[in-house]
């Protein structure tokens, strides 16, 4: 087999992006302010700190927790989080005996309003291929050792439903405020590849 390569004149991605922008601008099809606004929004405003606030509130407000597990989209909306890739969000509750973990094997679907854009490992073939076949091993490789009797549930995001994992509240955090709790909650814990550790 001859090696599969692109045409020798295939410009690199940075130059192709610039070329595409120039063509779209020239035709008046995009507004640079909209483009910059979108980028800034996902660089600064939409990220795992949103999900962390949802989780911290669920840990400190039993009634909110109930609503969150019953209708994730609505309860998340109460905190002002909604938008693309958040049309319908279901929240999966981790307990001592049940561990949920989320993937999208076909592309990289991810609940943007609460977690922002996905990290590289979530989009990489190794995670997408293996977490649905040997989750316990993959989680251990990622640093999360689960007891043998933990019931592992893997969720492949194959429709427009998006999943957020509600991690367990760590012990020794009874004195922490909702805000302090939110600072502990990691993206990895809300995808299900980590747990929240006490400060």
């Amino acid at each position: 087999m001859t090696a599969i390569t692109r045409p020798p004149d295939h410009p690199d991605a940075a130059l192709r992006a610039e070329a595409l922008e120039s063509l779209l601008l020239e035709r008046g099809l995009i507004d640079p302010k909209v483009v910059d606004g979108l980028i800034s929004r996902y660089e600064n405003d939409v990220g795992p700190m949103n999900g962390a606030r949802v989780v911290a509130k669920a840990w400190t407000d039993a009634e909110y927790r109930r609503r969150l597990l019953e209708d994730g989209t609505a309860a998340i909306g109460e905190l002002g989080y909604s938008g693309p890739q958040g049309e319908y969000i279901e929240v999966l509750e981790n307990t001592g005996g049940v561990h949920n973990v989320v993937v999208c094997t076909l592309c990289s679907c991810y609940p943007w309003p609460v977690l922002g854009l996905p990290p590289s490992w979530y989009k990489d073939p190794a995670y997408r291929s293996r977490i649905v076949r040997e989750p316990r091993r993959v989680l251990a490789e990622m640093g999360l050792e689960l007891d043998d009797d933990v019931d592992i549930r893997v969720w492949d995001s194959s429709s427009e439903v998006r999943y957020l994992v509600l991690p367990e509240r760590p012990e020794g955090t009874a004195d922490l405020s909702e805000e302090e709790l939110a600072a502990l909650v990691t993206r990895d814990a809300m995808v299900g590849v980590g747990r929240v550790t006490p400060p």
Partner: protein
């Protein structure tokens, strides 16, 4: 289609690499590719399912070599060319011009946006018929895929699972991606035992995925 994007259960990819401190966008062009991707459905008169299918159709080598936002960049170009917004080769020609080459750029093509209007925003829809399956029902996934877009992964075909939940009805990606019909229908969370998917030696766990009514058959 049975493309490289359908990665569930495939092997040989090595371990999961988790970079320590990762910016949202690794390079400025990735941020731009994201923004154009987010605007691509509007610019091309297409939709989210068509966007995913434009990614599915990338050559497997490029899919692996170019990274996530490389795939977004390519899919935006595919969508704009398919809809007659840009000519085939327009992006490469402009890129070569930008790096100083003397290039004749292709003229703009005849617009060719799909003759298609969504009945509502987003993907959720109301359907009048009751769900065909109830929670607890045993269902079997269909065996074969067509050459177009689908959200029934290869590793879950021809397998038997249990309906775990009924989700809101949604447009069917298989027809929606091709502007044939919205085909709104019920969607079920279906749980599969790991041994059903991977055989007796599998790790014990449950795999749940969300399946459109069209993908399912009742188990007698």
């Amino acid at each position: 289609m049975d493309g490289i994007h359908d990665m569930g259960g495939t092997q040989g990819w090595g371990t999961v690499k988790v970079p320590a401190d990762e910016p949202v966008f690794g390079e400025p062009w990735e941020a731009k590719a994201f923004a154009y991707g987010a605007l691509s459905a509007r610019l091309s008169g297409q939709n989210l399912d068509a966007m995913r299918h434009a990614i599915d159709r990338q050559h497997p080598h490029d899919y692996l070599a170019d990274g996530y936002y490389g795939r977004w960049l390519a899919c935006v170009e595919t969508m704009l060319v398919d809809s007659g917004v840009l000519a085939p080769g327009a992006v490469v020609a402009r890129a070569r011009k930008l790096r100083g080459e003397d290039v004749t750029e292709p003229p703009d093509p005849t617009p060719n946006k799909p003759d298609y209007q969504p009945t509502a925003g987003g993907s959720l829809r109301q359907v009048d018929t009751p769900p065909r399956f109830a929670v607890g029902d045993r269902v079997r996934t269909k065996a074969h895929a067509h050459a177009g877009h689908t959200r029934l992964p290869r590793y879950t075909r021809s397998h038997t699972g249990t309906v775990a939940a009924i989700h809101p009805a949604q447009v069917l990606p298989d027809t929606h991606a091709h502007f044939v019909a919205e085909n709104a229908q019920h969607v079920y969370a279906v749980a599969f035992d790991a041994t059903e998917l991977w055989g007796d030696g599998a790790e014990p766990f449950t795999l749940t995925l969300d399946l459109y009514d069209d993908y399912l058959e009742p188990v007698e």
